[in-house]
Structure formats: C-alpha cells, structure tokens
Symmetry: C2
Subunit: 437 residues, 2 copies
C-alpha cells in the first residue's frame, strides 16, 4: 500500500543539528554576548542571554518588526517604547529570556519587563538603552528573582561558543540552535562587514510558547532611517514569508542592530550601496528564517513555494501564503502525494488585493526537484489546463525529496514571492495535542 | 502520562450513523427523488441522484450560493447560468453525481455538465430547468456514457428510503448520509410546511474531492426575491460558519428550491411572516451544516465557537472563523488540553474589518459544557485578565466531552456569530496524507 510506505519514508529522521548548526563562525566587531541557566527552565538549560554593543566610537542604530497580534506581550511593548524614546539610535543591549513569555501578564508583566531592562542598563552602565524579549509559556509571571540573579552573574565574551550559547539560550521547543554569520564587501568602501543572526522557532506554530524571535547584528554603520527601511524590506521577504501552521504569536519580534564598528561612511537610503546592503540583509534574513521552517514541529519536508511573474509582490505573497498554510497541501506533502488539485484550490481561494493578479488561463504550476535529478521541473498545470500526461513516477521521486519546490507562475507581471513551508505530520499533531503537560 | 491517556480517550469511536441518520421522515409535498449506482464509483455504490419538483400548480423558485473559489467547476458555472437565464423561477430538477467533480476539465467539462442537464430535461420534459452538481476527484473527465445510461434508468419515488438513497448518492468520503427534515407553521396561514435538506461533507476539508454540496427543498411558496434573501442570510450563518480545515473547494454549492405545493400566499421580503420563515430556514440550514462538521475527516470533537456581544456579525464571524481554523486550537482540542492561550492568540490575529470591534480589557473567554455537569461555564479570561485560579480538573472534564462550546464575549456590541468546528487529529493527517491512492 503506497500510503504506509510513504508515511514511513517521510518519518525518516534527519540529523538537523549536524546539518544546520555551524561548527565555527566570524562575528561582527565589537559585540559581546553572554548567557547562563537562570533556573527558569527546570532542566538546567541555558535560558537567559544578553548581547551588548561595545563600540563607543559610533552611535548604534536599531530597528524592529513586532507581532501584529492584538495581544502584545509586555516585552514587545517595552522594546517598542525603548526604540521610540531613543529615536532608534544608541540602543546597546538586548536581553532575552526563554521559558516564560511574560505575555498576558498585565501590569505585573510590564513592570517585570521594565525591571529586566533596568537591571541590564545598570549592569552595563547604560541609560534606557536595552531591548527585552521573552519566549515561553503564556499567562505565567516571570520568576524575577532568578532572572535578576542571572543578569547579575552573566559574563561576556565573543567566541564562537559564546555566540552559540546565546543562540541556545533563546530556544524553547527548537531541536537545534539557529545561528548564522555571513560577510560581504561594499564596492564604495572595499571593506568587509559581518552579519550575525540568531533566531528561535518551532514557535510560530506554537503561540503558547511565544514564539518567533530573531535578531541580526552587524558592524556596518547604517543610519536609523536606513536600518528601518532595510529591516522592513528584509522582514517582509523572510520572517513574514514562512509558515509552519499559520498561527501568529503575541511575542514575535525581529530586531536588527548596527554598531558601525567598521568605521566607514554611514549607509543611508540615498547611499550608492544601499540596494546592495538591503539585498545582502534580505538574503541573510531569508537564510535565518528558513532555519525556523526546517525546525518546524514535526516537519519532515522543507518546501519552497515560489509565486512568480505576478503583478505585485503583495498578491504573489498572498497566494504563496495561502498555499503554504493549506492543511490539505501540507498533508499531501507529508504523504508525498502529487495532489496538484489542492495547490490549485488554494490558489483559487487566495484573498487577492487585485483580482486581476490571477488569470486562470495563464497559470502554470510545477513541482521542482532541488537535487541533480532530471527532469528538474514537472509541469502539473500548463496555461490553466491540467497536464493529463504527468509522469507520476517522476512526481513521486520529487515528492520523496526532503527539499522541494512548488512553482506557481501567474504570468500577469514580473514580481516574485518566495515562501517557505513544511509538511503537516502525525508528529505535529502529537506535539501540539498536549503541549502543556 | 496525560498525553497518551487523552489521545486514547479522544480516539474512542462514536457510531455517527446511528446517531445522526434519521430512521424515518416527512418530506415536502410534490417532490420526487431517484438515485442509482451508475458505475462511476467503482464500488457499486449509489453515485447519481435526481430531485424533481412535480408541482404544476405554481412556479417554483430557486436560489443558490456558490463557491467563491476562482477555479469554479463546470457544474457550478452551468447551474449559475440556468438559474440566471430562468430568472430564479421554474427550476424543476437537480441532478447530482458523485465520484467525479468535473472540475478543471475545461471545455469538455462544460459540455458534459450541459449534457447532464439536457438529458434530465429531456427525460422529464423540462426546458433548460435543471441544475447540476458534481462531487469527487478534480481533474478527471466525467464518464458520460455511464452517467447518460444512469439518467435514463433512474426511477422516482417519495418514500423515506428514496430520500435516504439520494442523500447517499452524493456522498464521497462521508461516513454517513446527511438528510434532515423539519416542519413549521406560519401564523398568517396556520398551515404546516416542510423543509428537507441533504448535504455532503467531509469534503470542505478535501478540495480534491469537490466537496461541500447542500440542498434544501420546501413546499412553501416563496418569491424569487424572498428565497434569494432567505438563502443568502441562512447560508452566511450555516454553511459559511463551519470549518473542518479552512480549505474551500471548486464545487461548493448550496441550493434551495421552493415549489409552493402548499398553496398559500407567496412569501416575499415584505410578508409579515418573512422573518419567521427566514429564522426557520436559518436554523434548519445550521442543523444541516453541523452534520458536515460532525463528519469532518478524522474528527473526534464537535465544537461550537460562539463570539458574542460583538459590534457587527461580520467581525464576530471573522474572530470565530480564525479560532475555528487555528491548527493549534484544533490540536489542543484533540489533546483535550485547556490551552486558552491559543484561543486568545487566534482572537488577537483575527483580521477585523473594524479594529474597535475588539477591546482587550472587555474580553471574556469561557469553556462551556454541553451536558448536565456543573459548573456549566468555566471562565478562562475575565475582562482581559487570565483566570489564574482556573479549575484545571473541571477544564479537563469539559474538554473530555465530545460536544463542547467556546464562548468569546467581546462586550463591544450585541451581535453573535456561532461557528462550528472539529478537532485536528492523527486520523485527519492519515486520511489526507494520501487520499488519491
């Protein structure tokens, strides 16, 4: 029976830690990090981390993208306030705890978030220059005694291990820490700059474990106007283009900090290199966001949904997101079933801003292999007409891959949205069927 | 371990056929029905049905609500055209086949849908007065030879068994046929009228099996303007208020036919009884729609999500729908986990038309038992503040019920939306992981 065979195949475990956790790394100049196990997590695991900018030569700039959920957790409200009152400049530390989200905790929660910032400011001799993030269970109060002692005892360093530990300290149900680094050169300066990104996931799919956190730090000098524009563009094309189950938490925060430790001209939206920087950060943020999907709860497949030749990015994204969130598409991927009808159905019920973005008679849908096997592309729908001669064996081969692509070509314009999703598995139901106990 | 126990409990099988299929019924006057196994379904099951209005004394009226999916199947397009060209009057037959959806079948599919109508018109001596519906696999052509022979051979009757067989003939992955009848009296006439409804489900969750079909027939005389208004109101509060997995098919059709066989004054939107009729039909359509949720693929729970005291019905519905479609809420229900954080999260990311519809500080959330156990209501959130003294044992008791309610009280107005959903189970993943093979 095809079914059992497929589900067994899909259940083969991939060693994600070995595949996705780096063994070494270069990190941006003049950042230090520290972490420890404060005791909030019962299992003695790392649960508190701080990132500090130690560059005194330039004013750092920062930007953040927060959850649009109406129920924003206290640390989200506090960090927003710190960014705004500092005019997005001179923010020099980020403190993050895991194990408790400090969400739905009312005035006490707000006071606790403020206290965390205050303690870090005091420790580092800063003046309201610290952002705070929390992730963990909703509706429980922070154990502030443990957090306070933790903040007091944290020591800093800048080695690979220090960075990896900070990445570990924000994990909740993650099966591996998410840490990446990358370097790029700018034409105008000839200098090399470094980006480091840390994220935690599993999590978007798990809003009682709140939830998706990410931060990107760099030693490139960027103006506050520039960093805002760069992060907003990158966020829209990375962390806002992933789906594990479509749920959105109360604590989601993506934040970017630039300390200008490589002392070159400040990048502004008018700079000749601006588009280049923006493209670099976007591609970097996409890599970081993809790790969250790879670690989706119960996921056995990593699927790129590409909606191409669209009139606008926005409508391309709505279609890509609708496909990526469809339980039927996701279970079909799990079952390795070439069920293109479900993909088409999802395209058809996407709530487009501009209905002319979709013309059924121009639509092409393909499965695409990500390995070296051929034919690479398998057309399922051609100009709106089902490919009745589709090679089912080849379809099965492509669907058996751990990584695959679905291309939906609208042929109504020239914009593209790439979206990343995973399959919906028995393990997902098991994990989420009883998370709290 | 709480988890395994709960999931075992949830897996207890309910004999839905015994519970939800009536043993007898009264049916509207002057309708006849027929069905047979045409051979399209390979297992010799009923797969073709016709409903005929035999009342010649009055002109029937009809209305339908069709899928808003951009990819509409041929029978949807054809039925829409028949209704419009007849000005929603004098439609006297509905032919339905199951096993093949005649969707994504292009011009051939359109010709086949037309042929089905033509054959029924000819058989019954009608003049373009037949609606057509199809449900089954997408992207396959109808076996018109079998359908044609079937239509030729169908015979009609009006017994309970005839009606039950028609209900059976439209089933696909349904585990029981959905047939209900109800009678009501109108004050102004003192007469008794009958409603009969047939639906097929499983299906909304299964768009490659296209999908949700429902029809309601009555012997009450209603004007074409009246029936349109009544069905649109009822549909919005019944079939559009259910969710199995949030997917919407290419063939969804709800249709209503009134033949006026009880020869009283025609009901128009101006009639004194209009609201009464509308309320009766709405409540009837809700019962029919609920059967679809009860038969949701893999479902072990039937959950009513009530959003009350809302500014508008529309925003109440958006919130109810968002909760009902959340994979996290649905897996928590399956695991019988009182995870109110997930409900709140879904409320928070609902895409409201009017953001003032939601005021966090006025929000109450409760679980409600549907049996006689007490306390009936278990408050989880009171005026936006989590109930930290929630009785977890009582929560577990309520969540162990097969039927339960979630009440979300917005306290910003006076409108209510009731939405019906089911849990997301291992069995759902199994069924949808490999439907085609």
């Amino acid at each position: 029976m095809k079914f059992s065979k497929n589900l067994m195949k899909a259940a083969v475990t991939i060693d994600k830690y070995a595949l996705y956790v780096p063994k070494s790394g270069v990190f941006p100049k003049k950042f230090e990090v520290g972490s420890l196990a404060s005791g909030v997590k019962k299992n003695g695991k790392l649960d508190l981390g701080i990132i500090v900018n130690t560059n005194k030569e330039a004013k750092s700039t920062a930007s953040a993208v927060f959850t649009t959920n109406r129920f924003k957790a206290a640390p989200v409200l506090k960090s927003k306030q710190v960014l705004e009152s500092n005019n997005f400049e001179g923010v020099n530390a980020i403190v993050v705890n895991s194990g408790c989200a400090n969400s739905m905790t009312g005035d006490v929660g707000m006071a606790d978030a403020e206290k965390m910032c205050e303690l870090v400011n005091k420790k580092l001799n800063l003046k309201d220059q610290t952002l705070v993030m929390s992730t963990g269970v909703i509706g429980q109060k922070l154990q502030m005694d443990k957090i306070a002692t933790g903040i007091e005892n944290i020591t800093f360093g800048s080695s690979y291990q220090d960075w990896l530990n900070v990445a570990k300290s924000i994990c909740t149900t993650d099966t591996f820490p998410k840490l990446i680094s990358s370097q790029f050169k700018l034409k105008s300066t000839g200098e090399t700059y470094t980006l480091t990104g840390i994220a935690k996931g599993a999590g978007m799919i798990c809003p009682n474990m709140a939830t998706l956190l990410g931060y990107i730090v760099t030693d490139l000098p960027i103006s506050s106007g520039g960093i805002k524009k760069i992060l907003s563009f990158a966020g829209e094309r990375s962390f806002n283009c992933i789906s594990v189950d479509g749920d959105m938490s109360t604590n989601d925060t993506i934040c970017m900090l630039a300390n200008g430790a490589v002392n070159t001209t400040v990048i502004t939206p008018e700079s000749e290199d601006f588009e280049d920087v923006s493209a670099n950060v976007t591609s970097f943020a996409q890599q970081l966001a993809q790790l969250v999907v790879r670690d989706g709860e119960g996921a056995t497949k990593f699927v790129t949904v590409k909606v191409t030749k669209a009139k606008t990015f926005e409508d391309a994204k709505i279609i890509a997101e609708t496909i990526s969130n469809s339980s039927l598409v996701k279970t079909a991927l799990y079952g390795e079933d070439a069920n293109w009808g479900r993909i088409l159905c999802a395209v058809g019920y996407s709530k487009l801003g501009d209905i002319s973005a979709l013309d059924e008679s121009k639509l092409n849908v393909k499965f695409v292999a990500t390995d070296d096997s051929t034919p690479k592309e398998l057309p399922l729908l051609i100009n709106g007409v089902p490919n009745l001669n589709v090679d089912e064996n080849r379809a099965s081969e492509i669907l058996a891959l751990n990584d695959l692509e679905i291309i939906v070509e609208l042929n109504t314009g020239s914009e593209t949205c790439n979206f990343w999703t995973c399959d919906l598995t028995h393990e997902y139901v098991t994990i989420n069927g009883d998370y709290r106990s």
